[in-house]
Amino acid sequence: VFGDGKLDEDKLEEFEDLLLQGDLGVEVTMELVDHLRQGWKDGKYKTVADIQESLKTKIQEELTLKISPLNLSESPFAVILMVGINGVGKTTTTAKITSLFQKLDKKCMLVACDTFRAGAVKQLETWGERLDVTVVKGKENEDPASVAFEGIKRAKQEKVDILIIDTAGRLHTQVNLMEEVKKISRVVEKALPGAPHETLMVIDSTTGQNAIEQAKVFNEALDLSGLVVTKLDGTAKGGVVVAIHRQLQIPIRFIGVGEQVNDLQNFNPEEFTEALFA
């Protein structure tokens, strides 16, 4: 992308621009570029290709966490709680993850804990029909925690392998809604000690630096076990996850690359990093 050639301050600025435009943010970008500049001054890097290589390696390392695979074989069943701010793709991702587990012969059940938004339960039910899985729902505006409780009860009765709880979108700045989602998690834990085994925060890759604050607040509230980065089929690079990873060490489990049920991939640090430079 930068051709090959002599290294100079202008070339460094080109890399800085690339990282900033990928939403990596000022702090991460400056740190990476300072490291490159130091390596250049120390004679470690001589060409543009050296710089690009070092940058890719550093970012990829940044995104590679020794992570244990998703907790799927819990007994009697695994519980996954889906959280995140409004419109990021929680409901769609819930369907995608369900389909993925079905291919591994896992019996799944879904819980519609968004009891507020227009058409939210209908949306999850539609996915449920397409995937032929039960969707547990409550009454309109019912306390989502009680719907979650009902979900655990039904899952025990029907001997499922995996229970996925879809929640309403909420801004991390809405204190009452953050309390609501904490309550959902507590009620689930009370109904099934150890649950939720996975709490996945869904993040929209088009989001800028605010994603860091979102992740911090959700993590503090729920102790996240993973992230899902969606809409990477678009032009956004999702670079903000480098900062999130650095500050919070939450593993990225999956990426969303489209609106269909198969548009989910395991997170691959190398591919993600390559895409930053594409």
Binding site: G25, A118, A120, Q123, T126, T206, A211, K231, G234
Partner: protein, 290 residues
Amino acid sequence: NLSDRLQSTISKLRGTDKLTDDNIKEALREVKLALLEADVNLLIVKEFVNSIKKEVLGAEVEKGLDPGKQFIKLVHEKLVEIMGTNPEDINVKKGGLHKVMMVGLQGSGKTTTTGKIAKKFQDVNPLLVACDVYRPAAVDQLLTVAKRAGVTSFEKGTDHDPVTIAKEGLEKAKAGNHSLLMIDTAGRLQIDEKLMEELARMKEAIRPDDILLVIDSMTGQEAVRVAKTFDDTLGITGVVLTKVDGDARGGAALSIRKTIGKPIKYIGIGEKLDGLELFDPERMASRILG
């Protein structure tokens, strides 16, 4: 915030009687960093900082005025200038038929905003048209939103071309004494040629008075490319910035204003249908500066 960050750099300007290339270098850098952290697009940031530099160089430091405060005042004024003058509501009049298309990326808040605008103008008998035939239960969502807003809706299921549904919705609006037609469309990537072409066809068929681009206020660097493509393809007439009730700095607003120059008409400040306000350029400028 920016004034705190500028404190030490600006204190160096005290006692100087002229702002020069050298003594404002650090201050300009602080502005650059503040805007980048606020998610303003990099190219827009560079343009902005250069324009500040031009304006500031050679400026006499007014006697008795703190050069730091003068600098910040200039930055703030320049931002407000770009944000636009106080915005106009969409031009809805009883007796006419004002046609609006709502467009944007997936999940930005189009359907909810359609309801909010309809509720605001409910006394001119709006008609909401469900043209998202792709997203599961999208039609359901729009019908429910219409009911909650106390307005009429039109849908034709999910087996028809959205342009056909839009045309039929238009006929219904003309026949039914509606003065506002709001067409809710499916979210789409600006690089999805087929879906962008669908919007172009819809525009051709409906001849809308307004095409509103609905953008999430926490959008990062990509806001420029998204806005530019939607504008180039359709001719956007206005922008709605959503989820402003969060704490994102909202730099996308500056990027979009600079790139397509269209007015930001409204901001979404909540999930309920009364969560809509007219855009306030002053408040947005202060928010972006942090």
